[in-house]
Symmetry: C2
Subunit: 278 residues, 2 copies
């Protein structure tokens, strides 16, 4: 099964489009965990236990683990072991380097840590992506149009008749011989998301920027999915992780994840009905 097929299959069986971003900042953990021997690991375990039946993916953000040094790397490895095999893992590191270096990153993230997929930065071109494409079951999400303000600085620059991010989308399509490339498109750009989906009808699209960053959830679901309504992976991090800072943090995270999952299902069903009417 190729990576794109895995995404659709997991979304279909779980009934969820939600990805929880595990961006763990030790300073933001609930106060009562701070005396725990392993506060971050305990937090991750509670979040995963409370949400694993509500999500299609978890996305640990590597920066937050690196900020904890070698201990962070161990916590990341142990966190990945807690995630059921039925849920996708996305190593969000936005790496990108020349071929022999990219091969080392692929070894670290796919072989050593065992991520199902990673995010990559396209700026250095094909040979920086290629070492990640060898196994069709493992996927990459190339940054196309990111959710942040800085996406205006270069990604939207006009190259001939189209913006740079569209060049990236078209390159990704050309490089996708093994059906294991996806894209990252921020929920803060709903119009562009619609256009990008029309260019790549069968690619997974990872969509950050709903929740704390204010992106549009309904538009992300409506315009991010493929013809069958799958392949949009909607990420939320802080709004779920830090839904409560009390001892009820896991229940609060579950409530918020459940609310988002249900809301997305409703949008998907409404959209399905609207399509049948047309």
């Amino acid at each position: 099964m190729t990576f794109a097929e895995r995404v659709a299959s997991i979304q279909s069986s779980s009934g969820s489009f939600l990805c929880v971003g595990l961006d763990i900042d030790p300073a933001k953990l609930p106060g009562h965990l701070k005396n725990h021997a392993e506060p971050v690991l305990e937090f991750n375990r509670s979040i995963i236990d409370a949400t694993k039946d509500l999500v299609c993916a978890y996305k640990p953000n590597l920066a937050f683990y690196e900020a904890m040094g070698e201990n962070g790397w161990r916590i990341l490895r142990e966190t990945l072991r807690m995630i059921p095999k039925t849920v996708l893992t996305i190593g969000d590191g936005k790496r990108g380097d020349i071929g022999n270096t990219a091969a080392q990153y692929a070894r670290a993230l796919f072989d050593d840590l065992g991520f199902d997929s990673v995010t990559l930065n396209p700026y250095m071109g094909f040979d920086s992506v290629d070492p990640f494409l060898k196994n069709p079951e493992k996927g990459v999400f190339l940054l196309a149009l990111t959710s942040n303000e800085g996406s205006r600085d270069f990604q939207r620059l006009k190259v001939g008749t189209m913006p740079l991010y569209e060049k990236v989308v078209r390159a990704a399509k050309k490089w996708n011989a093994s059906n294991n490339i996806g894209l990252v498109v921020g929920a803060t750009h709903p119009r562009e998301l619609k256009r990008i989906r029309s260019l790549v009808p069968t690619m997974p699209i990872l969509i950050p920027g709903v929740g704390s960053q204010g992106g549009d959830l309904a538009a992300s679901m409506r315009d991010g999915g493929n013809a069958e309504g799958f392949l949009a992976i909607i990420n939320a991090s802080r709004s779920i992780l830090y839904a409560s800072s009390g001892t009820d943090f896991a229940a609060a995270a579950r409530a918020e994840a459940s609310r988002m999952r249900d809301h997305m299902q409703l949008i998907a069903q409404t959209e399905e009905r609207a399509k049948k009417k047309r």
Copy 2:
């Protein structure tokens, strides 16, 4: 002293423009080290001891350490402790992410590991770079035109009248209020290096791609330096690290580093004389 001033000062006092890239692949270590308790650390210690009076900087490539898991992170930290304070350290990780994540990478690389500078990918724009600019003594090298084949895929695309990489160079110049931004320009693009230096007369330029990748050392020195002949940082990795695979690897690394340092000094002096004649 700002980061750019530090680079010029270290190059002036050491008489060296050479940066040794510490891209340590355990599979490539000399055979006799493999039974050592800490082969990679012992290798790094030997290379640093053998070359520290010949270089202006060391550039550990993070991918190679990440491929060793939590142990690699520890080795990286201990390696950084072996480098004299008089030599610059460049954390080559090519990171780039939204502001709150970039702040975590800055924390990991500047505060926790203690790098003097890092390489960054510009694709996500200003807010992905800004958290690294807070301390004028710590520097960033933004990828402009990289040494690899894939640099043709996006970096050279025409945006209006200029290539994308020149947009990056101009943005870097605009963002450089604290005099701590530099650029990465591959030695495999000598003509473009000359043009870029004319645009940023006072920025450090990190120049990979001589040695194993075949870039032009003479052109890199001649066209990469500022008016006083400083600020071009010429990186070599594999050609020095793996100059010999025998028990004489450290002496062979020193011989190659010395040859490169001397060659660069000669080019700099010739260039200086040529300038005086004009």
